[in-house]
Protein backbone atom coordinates (compact mmCIF):
# COMPACT_ATOMS: atom_id res chain seq x y z
CA UNK A 1 0.00 0.00 0.00
CA UNK A 2 1.42 3.39 -0.98
CA UNK A 3 0.64 6.60 0.83
CA UNK A 4 0.63 10.22 -0.27
CA UNK A 5 -0.79 13.34 1.30
CA UNK A 6 -4.37 14.20 0.52
CA UNK A 7 -3.64 17.15 -1.72
CA UNK A 8 -1.88 14.76 -4.11
CA UNK A 9 -4.54 12.09 -4.01
CA UNK A 10 -6.20 11.11 -7.28
CA UNK A 11 -9.26 10.10 -5.26
CA UNK A 12 -10.39 13.68 -4.88
CA UNK A 13 -12.21 14.22 -8.13
CA UNK A 14 -15.88 14.23 -8.93
CA UNK A 15 -17.03 10.84 -10.17
CA UNK A 16 -14.34 8.79 -8.45
CA UNK A 17 -16.03 5.61 -7.15
CA UNK A 18 -16.22 4.63 -3.49
CA UNK A 19 -16.32 1.10 -2.18
CA UNK A 20 -17.61 -1.53 -2.36
CA UNK A 21 -18.05 -1.89 1.40
CA UNK A 22 -19.80 -5.13 2.41
CA UNK A 23 -22.17 -5.36 5.37
CA UNK A 24 -23.48 -8.69 6.64
CA UNK A 25 -26.09 -8.06 9.34
CA UNK A 26 -26.60 -11.06 11.62
CA UNK A 27 -29.30 -11.73 14.19
CA UNK A 28 -26.66 -11.20 16.87
CA UNK A 29 -25.71 -7.82 15.47
CA UNK A 30 -29.36 -6.76 15.24
CA UNK A 31 -29.92 -7.83 18.85
CA UNK A 32 -26.88 -5.91 20.06
CA UNK A 33 -27.82 -2.81 18.06
CA UNK A 34 -31.35 -2.91 19.49
CA UNK A 35 -29.84 -3.31 22.96
CA UNK A 36 -27.42 -0.40 22.78
CA UNK A 37 -30.04 1.88 21.25
CA UNK A 38 -32.72 0.67 23.73
CA UNK A 39 -35.03 -0.31 20.90
CA UNK A 40 -37.50 -3.04 21.90
CA UNK A 41 -39.36 -3.12 18.56
CA UNK A 42 -40.00 -6.84 18.00
CA UNK A 43 -39.53 -6.73 14.23
CA UNK A 44 -35.77 -6.57 14.91
CA UNK A 45 -35.35 -9.70 17.08
CA UNK A 46 -38.57 -11.76 17.08
CA UNK A 47 -38.82 -13.58 13.76
CA UNK A 48 -42.29 -14.99 14.41
CA UNK A 49 -43.58 -11.52 15.19
CA UNK A 50 -41.81 -10.02 12.18
CA UNK A 51 -43.56 -12.57 9.95
CA UNK A 52 -46.94 -11.44 11.29
CA UNK A 53 -46.11 -8.03 9.84
CA UNK A 54 -45.29 -9.66 6.51
CA UNK A 55 -41.49 -9.59 6.72
CA UNK A 56 -39.33 -12.58 5.70
CA UNK A 57 -37.11 -12.29 8.79
CA UNK A 58 -35.96 -9.88 11.45
CA UNK A 59 -35.47 -6.44 9.98
CA UNK A 60 -32.24 -4.48 9.89
CA UNK A 61 -32.90 -1.29 11.88
CA UNK A 62 -33.31 1.87 9.82
CA UNK A 63 -30.56 3.47 11.90
CA UNK A 64 -28.19 0.54 11.39
CA UNK A 65 -28.57 1.01 7.63
CA UNK A 66 -27.59 4.63 8.24
CA UNK A 67 -24.58 3.46 10.22
CA UNK A 68 -23.45 1.26 7.34
CA UNK A 69 -23.41 4.25 5.01
CA UNK A 70 -21.72 6.49 7.58
CA UNK A 71 -19.14 3.78 8.27
CA UNK A 72 -18.35 3.55 4.56
CA UNK A 73 -17.93 7.32 4.28
CA UNK A 74 -15.64 7.46 7.31
CA UNK A 75 -13.63 4.45 6.22
CA UNK A 76 -13.14 6.05 2.83
CA UNK A 77 -12.14 9.36 4.43
CA UNK A 78 -9.48 7.62 6.51
CA UNK A 79 -7.87 8.71 9.79
CA UNK A 80 -8.65 12.31 10.64
CA UNK A 81 -11.74 12.39 8.44
CA UNK A 82 -14.99 13.49 10.03
CA UNK A 83 -18.61 13.75 8.97
CA UNK A 84 -19.90 17.31 8.61
CA UNK A 85 -23.35 16.37 7.38
CA UNK A 86 -25.10 13.19 6.40
CA UNK A 87 -28.53 12.23 5.21
CA UNK A 88 -29.99 8.93 4.25
CA UNK A 89 -33.36 7.57 3.15
CA UNK A 90 -34.53 4.02 3.68
CA UNK A 91 -35.85 2.68 0.36
CA UNK A 92 -36.37 -1.03 0.93
CA UNK A 93 -36.07 -3.45 3.82
CA UNK A 94 -33.26 -5.88 4.55
CA UNK A 95 -33.24 -8.78 6.98
CA UNK A 96 -30.61 -10.63 8.97
CA UNK A 97 -28.50 -12.77 6.68
CA UNK A 98 -28.79 -10.44 3.70
CA UNK A 99 -25.59 -9.51 1.92
CA UNK A 100 -25.51 -5.73 1.65
CA UNK A 101 -23.01 -3.62 -0.21
CA UNK A 102 -22.37 0.12 0.10
CA UNK A 103 -21.00 1.90 -2.93
CA UNK A 104 -20.85 5.50 -4.00
CA UNK A 105 -18.91 8.21 -5.69
CA UNK A 106 -17.39 11.60 -5.06
CA UNK A 107 -19.93 14.29 -5.95
CA UNK A 108 -18.06 17.47 -4.98
CA UNK A 109 -14.68 18.67 -3.75
CA UNK A 110 -13.95 22.03 -2.17
CA UNK A 111 -11.50 23.63 0.21
CA UNK A 112 -12.37 24.95 3.65
CA UNK A 113 -9.33 26.33 5.43
CA UNK A 114 -6.97 23.47 6.21
CA UNK A 115 -9.50 20.82 5.24
CA UNK A 116 -10.90 19.44 2.02
CA UNK A 117 -14.66 19.02 2.00
CA UNK A 118 -15.70 16.03 -0.06
CA UNK A 119 -19.30 15.36 -1.03
CA UNK A 120 -20.20 11.69 -1.38
CA UNK A 121 -23.24 10.03 -2.93
CA UNK A 122 -23.90 6.70 -1.30
CA UNK A 123 -26.10 3.69 -1.97
CA UNK A 124 -26.66 0.38 -0.27
CA UNK A 125 -27.95 -2.58 -2.30
CA UNK A 126 -28.78 -6.15 -1.38
CA UNK A 127 -27.49 -9.17 -3.29
CA UNK A 128 -30.42 -8.97 -5.72
CA UNK A 129 -29.51 -5.41 -6.61
CA UNK A 130 -32.42 -3.85 -4.74
CA UNK A 131 -31.67 -0.36 -3.50
CA UNK A 132 -32.11 -0.46 0.28
CA UNK A 133 -30.76 2.96 1.24
CA UNK A 134 -29.58 6.08 -0.55
CA UNK A 135 -27.70 8.93 1.03
CA UNK A 136 -25.33 11.85 0.81
CA UNK A 137 -22.48 12.85 3.07
CA UNK A 138 -19.97 15.64 3.37
CA UNK A 139 -16.70 14.63 4.99
CA UNK A 140 -13.88 16.95 6.06
CA UNK A 141 -10.39 15.63 5.56
CA UNK A 142 -7.33 17.47 6.91
CA UNK A 143 -5.14 18.57 4.01
CA UNK A 144 -2.11 16.85 5.52
CA UNK A 145 -3.87 13.54 6.17
CA UNK A 146 -2.24 10.47 4.69
CA UNK A 147 -4.42 8.70 2.13
CA UNK A 148 -4.51 4.98 1.46
CA UNK A 149 -4.91 4.12 -2.21
CA UNK A 150 -7.54 1.41 -2.03
Amino acid sequence: MTKTVLSESPRLAVGVPLGPYPARPTTVQLFRFSAVTWNAHRIHYDREYAETEGYPGVLVQAHLHGCYLANAALDWAGPGGRLCSFRWTNRSIAVAGDELTVTGQVSSVSQDGDSTLVGLQLEEHDAQGTLCVSGEAVVAIPMSAPVDHR
Binding site: E53, H63, N90
Partner: protein
Amino acid sequence: MTDLLASRYEQLKHEVGKERVEDLGVISRRDLERFAIASQAPWTAPADDDVATAPPMFLSSVMGWGAGPPETELDGDGTAPSDTRGLRLSGVRLMGAGQDLEFHTAVREGMRVVARTSLRDIELKHGKSGALLLLQILRQFTDDHERPLVTCRETFIAR
Protein backbone atom coordinates in the same frame (compact mmCIF):
# COMPACT_ATOMS: atom_id res chain seq x y z
CA MET B 1 -56.45 0.84 9.86
CA THR B 2 -57.33 4.02 7.96
CA ASP B 3 -59.62 5.07 10.82
CA LEU B 4 -56.88 4.45 13.35
CA LEU B 5 -54.35 6.42 11.34
CA ALA B 6 -56.85 9.24 10.93
CA SER B 7 -57.41 9.22 14.67
CA ARG B 8 -53.67 9.36 15.38
CA TYR B 9 -53.33 12.16 12.84
CA GLU B 10 -56.00 14.20 14.60
CA GLN B 11 -54.30 13.63 17.96
CA LEU B 12 -50.80 14.44 16.82
CA LYS B 13 -51.38 17.43 14.55
CA HIS B 14 -51.92 19.48 17.70
CA GLU B 15 -48.41 18.53 18.80
CA VAL B 16 -46.73 20.19 15.81
CA GLY B 17 -44.22 22.78 16.94
CA LYS B 18 -44.33 21.92 20.63
CA GLU B 19 -40.84 21.44 22.01
CA ARG B 20 -39.94 18.87 24.64
CA VAL B 21 -36.65 19.19 26.50
CA GLU B 22 -34.98 16.06 27.87
CA ASP B 23 -31.76 15.74 29.84
CA LEU B 24 -30.14 12.63 28.38
CA GLY B 25 -27.55 12.41 31.12
CA VAL B 26 -23.80 12.06 30.96
CA ILE B 27 -22.31 10.09 28.08
CA SER B 28 -20.20 7.17 29.27
CA ARG B 29 -17.29 5.51 27.52
CA ARG B 30 -19.01 2.14 27.86
CA ASP B 31 -22.05 3.41 25.92
CA LEU B 32 -19.79 4.69 23.14
CA GLU B 33 -17.77 1.50 22.96
CA ARG B 34 -20.86 -0.68 22.87
CA PHE B 35 -22.42 1.43 20.14
CA ALA B 36 -19.21 1.36 18.10
CA ILE B 37 -19.04 -2.42 18.33
CA ALA B 38 -22.72 -3.01 17.58
CA SER B 39 -22.72 -0.62 14.61
CA GLN B 40 -19.28 -1.77 13.37
CA ALA B 41 -18.12 1.83 13.33
CA PRO B 42 -14.52 2.49 12.25
CA TRP B 43 -13.67 3.61 15.76
CA THR B 44 -10.70 2.99 18.00
CA ALA B 45 -11.03 3.02 21.76
CA PRO B 46 -8.72 5.69 23.16
CA ALA B 47 -6.03 5.08 25.73
CA ASP B 48 -7.24 5.08 29.32
CA ASP B 49 -6.22 8.69 29.93
CA ASP B 50 -7.77 10.07 26.75
CA VAL B 51 -11.38 11.13 26.30
CA ALA B 52 -13.45 8.96 23.94
CA THR B 53 -15.29 10.59 21.05
CA ALA B 54 -18.67 9.21 20.01
CA PRO B 55 -19.21 7.64 16.61
CA PRO B 56 -21.20 10.28 14.70
CA MET B 57 -24.37 8.20 14.53
CA PHE B 58 -24.54 7.59 18.27
CA LEU B 59 -26.87 10.34 19.49
CA SER B 60 -29.36 10.10 16.66
CA SER B 61 -29.59 6.29 16.77
CA VAL B 62 -30.46 5.79 20.43
CA MET B 63 -34.22 5.39 20.83
CA GLY B 64 -34.56 5.62 24.59
CA TRP B 65 -32.31 7.32 27.12
CA GLY B 66 -34.14 6.44 30.31
CA ALA B 67 -35.06 3.10 31.85
CA GLY B 68 -38.26 2.95 29.78
CA PRO B 69 -41.62 1.55 30.84
CA PRO B 70 -42.07 -1.98 32.19
CA GLU B 71 -42.81 -4.64 29.58
CA THR B 72 -46.50 -4.66 30.49
CA GLU B 73 -46.75 -1.06 29.32
CA LEU B 74 -45.15 -1.63 25.93
CA ASP B 75 -47.35 -1.90 22.87
CA GLY B 76 -47.82 -5.34 21.36
CA ASP B 77 -45.00 -4.73 18.91
CA GLY B 78 -42.61 -3.90 21.74
CA THR B 79 -42.50 -0.18 21.13
CA ALA B 80 -42.88 2.65 23.60
CA PRO B 81 -43.48 6.37 23.07
CA SER B 82 -39.71 6.93 23.30
CA ASP B 83 -39.38 5.09 20.00
CA THR B 84 -41.27 7.90 18.31
CA ARG B 85 -39.48 10.59 20.25
CA GLY B 86 -42.17 10.82 22.89
CA LEU B 87 -45.19 10.73 20.58
CA ARG B 88 -47.82 8.09 21.31
CA LEU B 89 -48.62 6.01 18.23
CA SER B 90 -50.22 2.88 19.67
CA GLY B 91 -51.66 0.32 17.28
CA VAL B 92 -49.84 1.33 14.12
CA ARG B 93 -46.89 -0.24 12.34
CA LEU B 94 -43.94 2.08 12.60
CA MET B 95 -40.76 2.33 10.55
CA GLY B 96 -37.84 4.71 10.49
CA ALA B 97 -37.39 6.20 7.04
CA GLY B 98 -34.20 8.22 7.30
CA GLN B 99 -32.39 11.10 8.91
CA ASP B 100 -30.83 14.40 7.86
CA LEU B 101 -27.94 15.18 10.20
CA GLU B 102 -25.64 18.12 10.83
CA PHE B 103 -22.65 17.51 13.07
CA HIS B 104 -21.62 20.68 14.88
CA THR B 105 -19.28 19.61 17.67
CA ALA B 106 -17.73 16.28 18.56
CA VAL B 107 -19.62 14.37 21.25
CA ARG B 108 -17.28 13.13 23.96
CA GLU B 109 -17.55 10.93 27.01
CA GLY B 110 -18.35 12.89 30.14
CA MET B 111 -20.56 15.41 28.31
CA ARG B 112 -24.04 16.00 29.68
CA VAL B 113 -26.36 16.04 26.65
CA VAL B 114 -29.74 17.72 26.30
CA ALA B 115 -32.23 16.99 23.50
CA ARG B 116 -34.90 19.41 22.30
CA THR B 117 -37.49 17.47 20.33
CA SER B 118 -40.46 18.66 18.33
CA LEU B 119 -42.83 17.29 15.73
CA ARG B 120 -42.31 19.52 12.70
CA ASP B 121 -44.92 18.08 10.37
CA ILE B 122 -47.41 15.27 10.05
CA GLU B 123 -49.25 14.17 6.91
CA LEU B 124 -51.92 11.56 6.35
CA LYS B 125 -51.33 10.13 2.90
CA HIS B 126 -53.09 7.56 0.79
CA GLY B 127 -50.59 5.62 -1.29
CA LYS B 128 -50.84 2.57 -3.54
CA SER B 129 -50.45 0.28 -0.53
CA GLY B 130 -52.99 2.14 1.57
CA ALA B 131 -53.00 4.95 4.09
CA LEU B 132 -49.90 6.04 5.96
CA LEU B 133 -48.74 8.74 8.32
CA LEU B 134 -45.56 10.63 7.52
CA LEU B 135 -43.97 12.28 10.55
CA GLN B 136 -41.07 14.75 10.52
CA ILE B 137 -39.34 15.10 13.86
CA LEU B 138 -36.62 17.58 14.75
CA ARG B 139 -34.11 16.84 17.51
CA GLN B 140 -31.47 19.32 18.52
CA PHE B 141 -28.77 17.87 20.73
CA THR B 142 -26.69 20.28 22.79
CA ASP B 143 -24.39 20.08 25.76
CA ASP B 144 -25.58 21.51 29.06
CA HIS B 145 -24.27 24.94 28.03
CA GLU B 146 -26.53 24.88 24.94
CA ARG B 147 -23.61 24.39 22.59
CA PRO B 148 -24.96 22.59 19.49
CA LEU B 149 -23.73 19.04 19.02
CA VAL B 150 -25.96 17.39 16.44
CA THR B 151 -29.12 18.47 14.61
CA CYS B 152 -31.30 15.59 13.41
CA ARG B 153 -34.33 15.83 11.16
CA GLU B 154 -35.92 12.41 11.12
CA THR B 155 -38.73 10.84 9.12
CA PHE B 156 -41.00 8.08 10.40
CA ILE B 157 -43.69 6.20 8.51
CA ALA B 158 -46.67 4.72 10.36
CA ARG B 159 -49.04 2.33 8.60
